[in-house]
Symmetry: C2
Subunit: 197 residues, 2 copies
Amino acid sequence: MFEGVVQDLVDELGTLPGIGPKSAQRIAFHLLDRDEESVRRLADVLIEVKEKVRFCEICGGISETEICRICSDARRSNDIICVVEESKDVFAIERLREFRGRYHVLGGAIDPIGGVGPDDLRISELMQRIAKGETDEVILALDPNIEGEATSSYLARMLGAQDVKVTRLASGLPVGGDLDYADEMTLGRAFLGRRSI
Amino acid sequence: MFEGVVQDLVDELGTLPGIGPKSAQRIAFHLLDRDEESVRRLADVLIEVKEKVRFCEICGGISETEICRICSDARRSNDIICVVEESKDVFAIERLREFRGRYHVLGGAIDPIGGVGPDDLRISELMQRIAKGETDEVILALDPNIEGEATSSYLARMLGAQDVKVTRLASGLPVGGDLDYADEMTLGRAFLGRRSI
């Protein structure tokens, strides 16, 4: 429909998550209207991010340095390691400003259908960290879905042989939600996990 | 929250229309996961689009050449000029594959509050095109909102002195919609514009 390079831009934008053909078109026209300087800034940061960002050698999270900010922060405690699937989960937990331990990013979850096995994840790296004996507790903070649960079970089994406490995040009703909107799984978990008040 | 260049990328993505902070973050992490090659392709097309795309000297629509594909297409008729606000409207109408005349892109609509007057739009260029005497009909295909209506009225008055037929797109119920979901303005217009069957 569009001419050459405009169509190329719409196509490229359409490959981004959550950007359908309509949004891609809208963003493309917006960029056509914008001054060259600001579009170049976006292009530059795209290149820069791929050049600069790598994975922390300890936790596997994204970092601009060999060891990430969190792993190199001496004020944080080595006692607790919080295991997550992806780097973005680290940021989600950091936003709470409550957890002061370390992280370990697995790089995904066990997913037999998607062809992801335990060996494709950073599990041996986690075991090596724990083998150092500095860790008291491992918090499994994986996604509350089938893959996350399977991975948590696997890790709990692996960690059972180690001298560490293994915990997982609570399942239950999301705060601010309506009880009758909760799915059966969530409501079931909320019942199982009920606490005395 | 994020480190240096990742935050820069989230910020830049957040300036795009329809991309809130959450989506910006999601797209940024997606780009971090993608191979460098494909991210570079997106960066390149952003630069290219700003370098290559300009405005057609006749219709004012976007083009990669001095005169756009539509204006230079000898098979299209000079009898009818369809006036639109933006380049993207040209593409919307072209998608119908019905209109075989020419276009004129105003570059916006009269909007006193936003500080856009008739002199900020490509109205004199339209008058010059019509003064050539090749045009039989001018279709005003502006947005069906206050600014579009004001601009249509203004253009209709200006064109009244010329020997051309001036038409506008029909207002009414959108096809596939529910009558009781239509706003009062739309329903009112649908009544006024009722046709015998």
